[in-house]
Symmetry: C2
Subunit: 275 residues, 2 copies
Amino acid sequence: MIPEEVRRILEEMKAERIRGASWMAQKGAEAYLLLSRILSGEELKRALKEMKRAIPEVNRTMASLYNLSRFMPVTDDPELVRSRAEEFLRLIKEAKREIGNIGSELIDSGDVIITHSFSSAVLEVLKTAWEKGKQFKVVITESAPDYEGLALAGELERLSIPFEVITDAQLGLFAKKSTLALVGADNVTRDGFIVNKAGTYLLALACHDTGVPFYVAAESFKLHPELNSEDVEIVERPYSRQGFRVRNFIFDITPWKYVRGIITELGILVPPKEI
Amino acid sequence: MIPEEVRRILEEMKAERIRGASWMAQKGAEAYLLLSRILSGEELKRALKEMKRAIPEVNRTMASLYNLSRFMPVTDDPELVRSRAEEFLRLIKEAKREIGNIGSELIDSGDVIITHSFSSAVLEVLKTAWEKGKQFKVVITESAPDYEGLALAGELERLSIPFEVITDAQLGLFAKKSTLALVGADNVTRDGFIVNKAGTYLLALACHDTGVPFYVAAESFKLHPELNSEDVEIVERPYSRQGFRVRNFIFDITPWKYVRGIITELGILVPPKEI
């Protein structure tokens, strides 16, 4: 049985509306860490077996959770669980820093960078570029209905990075006025498709139509080793407005061919020519 | 001087957030009608001169207002003003009915029709098709930040036409699941571009990418005789959320090449092959 304290972390992850796949992976690794402090022996082993199902279940669309559950052993040794969880947490931190380094090199002073929703990897790229002294402006969607975009706006405000917030429906209008698009990913499928907050696909199309390079920032643990784009299950969350039920699928899927490159901590992945 | 009663109609038009270009044209014609009842002679003529500027000023992006102001004479004869205004009102009504007839023929039973924002021309097409006994479902965007989509949802509910409401950012996801896209227009430029609620361009791109036919329903008085797409001024309205100013340009512009056809009361306009 998964202990109550660990189960509470999983519930917190399920309830989260603003933060994305990196935060989820970190929270998941912390859940394992806590588990290693509470249980040992056969009890630990049984709980780890349950976690292998429970962690991806938190959000079936997030490759980071699937990869975390694959990364963690099923063992009776709490020390092994602790060291693997800590390794994963270190990996998350290092990957983010390296993505900041690599991604910030794509940004030039004078750029207008358009993004959608909140991605901590994107924030890291922007922050690093700003620290390198580059001058740019960021265009942010409010990202209805949970408004994660406004959380990103708050972060940029604290960093004194100039930004403008737009409604989601203006993605096309503002893509045209931008020089670079940069989004995060919740899942990069085996065939290179980008699963990210619904609306990302629309931004990619608008960038393609107007010649604006469209980049994705994603730690390698967001690459799914098995899943193909046609098998992606998209999570829906309840939402209503003015008494009407409103459909609310969280993600959409952007074909590889509209992506200029995926910035990972290992380098920039580019699509093969013939897709 | 434009009399106070007429000026109040213009203010009401300016404040309107839900209804589109057809309603605006109708309201504008009613303003002229009222004017013809209040003034005559030189006073009327001076007021009509002012109206020629004031009517398009209500919303610079709406061709219907420009065309109405061109249609109306500058004269001292109230009878002439009255008969022209009534002619325009008749034209609006007849055009809408005829668009319903022509457009409804594009709909087959089993269709899933996606639309964006609220267009009374689109509503007329849907209503006519439903009355002809066709069975279909409509996908409606909520259309933030003024939520005109929910007004459309209310109309369809009254007509018992099945519908689903989605957030604007899901336009791509749901375009893929649709068989037909149908939107209104606030302005069709001389070069055939569609000016309509921001987000329309994104829907057109998604339809183009997934092979869904994208149609526009627009009375001929929404065709602008002079304006080219690059000269369109897009009206912005103030909007903020959670203390952040949010840009709110009302319209975007969809290139002719992404439009399968424009349903007018005169027939369906199709783009020339070589665009």
